[in-house]
């Protein structure tokens, strides 16, 4: 087997194991209120940590990204759908960059 492909498969197996073990082994509903609360808070904390400040480096300029960030928050807060929030955020970045460059 080609060396690069071996690396790729090792990476794939490790990554899959991380993903599959909890979901297949934890088959019961957890009753403990602290663990349940911990799991309940995970998405908000993890995703928030990942979004900021990384979002500021996602586009060609931190300023366009900042506008995209604010636009996304406003529309998400007002209850716009996932697709609309993503598109409006892209659109605002596009428009801001037309003025910047």
């Amino acid at each position: 087997m080609n060396n690069v492909i071996f690396y790729i498969l090792v990476m794939a197996v490790v990554t899959y194991l991380i993903r599959v073990l909890p979901l297949t082994f934890i088959r019961k509903e957890i009753k403990n209120v602290y663990i349940r609360s911990f799991l309940f808070y995970i998405p908000y904390v993890t995703l928030a940590v990942m979004i900021f400040p990384a979002i500021l480096e996602a586009t060609a300029s931190p300023w366009s990204a900042l506008v995209g960030f604010i636009v996304a928050i406003i529309f998400a807060y007002r209850g716009a759908s996932l697709v609309s929030v993503a598109l409006l955020s892209c659109f605002s970045v596009f428009v801001v960059e037309l003025f910047l460059y």
Binding site: N3, V4, I5, F6, Y7, I8, V10, M11, V14, T15, Y16, I18, R19, V20, L21, P22, L23, T24, R27, K28, E29, I30, V33, Y34, R36, S37, F38, F40, Y41, I42, P43, Y44, V45, T46, L47, A48, V49, M50, I51, P53, I55, T59, G68, F69, A72, I73, A76, Y77, S81, L82, V83, V85, A86, L88, S89, C90, F91, V93, F94, E97
Partner: protein
């Protein structure tokens, strides 16, 4: 049968912005994969089997430097450890009776974005919803890689820049609505972003890799929140 199709369709719909964002990120990945000496087949194979951005970018560097396999394993464990927590959270979001078969296929699709949209559906999570998201998102990731590796520069820089924020916009659309009626969640989001920023700018904390940072902050903030504000009932309803 009907609920399966409905869940699948709603998954497909929410998979579209993910696929767009994936295309842009994977495009960049494809360009770097080419620079690291991978051919189009290898680059797409990596994207399809790994389905993770940070892990794949790190993988390229390791492959280019002919790193030891143990090093590759440890790097992937650290960078992708957040999926362990996500998978743990999803284990409580699905029906406990969900079969091993469904669990093992769903697991393949646990990325930050697929997790985000999956955990935010009301009620229990139907595996077919996840499949719907995956059926659009995975080709977006694979096609982006392919185009990146064979072309180098097809998309205009303006379009790439605009598309690059799609995933962040989508993730915000996942967490912000929940913060609206819940002051605890709103506070946690703000605290998480502030601490994440501190990790990015403070001299010593700066050297911590992003995979480790995500795990440390998640366990710390969600752990403390669980003790201070335990959620009594209907956690996942």
């Amino acid at each position: 049968m009907n609920t399966k199709i409905r869940a699948w369709k709603s998954g497909v719909k929410n998979g579209i912005p993910i696929a767009m964002g994936y295309f842009a990120v994977a495009f960049t990945f494809g360009i770097l994969a080419k620079q690291a000496g991978l051919n189009p087949f290898e680059a797409v194979l990596m994207s399809v089997t790994n389905l993770t951005s940070a892990g794949q970018f790190a993988g390229l560097t390791l492959i280019a430097s002919s790193a030891a396999i143990a090093e590759v394993v440890i790097a992937q464990l650290i960078i992708n450890s957040r999926y362990f927590l996500m998978s743990f959270a999803l284990s409580q979001k699905i029906d406990p009776k969900t079969s091993f078969f469904h669990r093992s296929i769903m697991s393949y699709g646990i990325t930050d974005e697929v997790f985000g949209v999956s955990v935010s559906v009301p009620g229990k999570l139907n595996p077919y919803y996840v499949y719907g998201v995956m059926i659009v998102a995975v080709p977006g990731w694979a096609m982006g890689t392919l185009f990146g590796v064979i072309s180098g520069s097809v998309l205009s820089p303006r379009l790439m820049s605009a598309l690059s924020i799609a995933l962040f916009g989508m993730l915000l659309a996942v967490i912000i609505p929940q913060a609206k009626g819940n002051k605890i969640i709103a506070g946690l989001i703000v605290i998480s972003m502030v601490l994440s920023c501190a990790f990015a700018v403070m001299p010593i904390l700066q050297s911590i890799s992003s995979g480790v940072k995500i795990i440390i902050l998640t366990i710390l903030i969600a752990g403390i929140a669980a003790f201070v504000f335990p959620v009594k009932e209907h956690t996942y309803e």
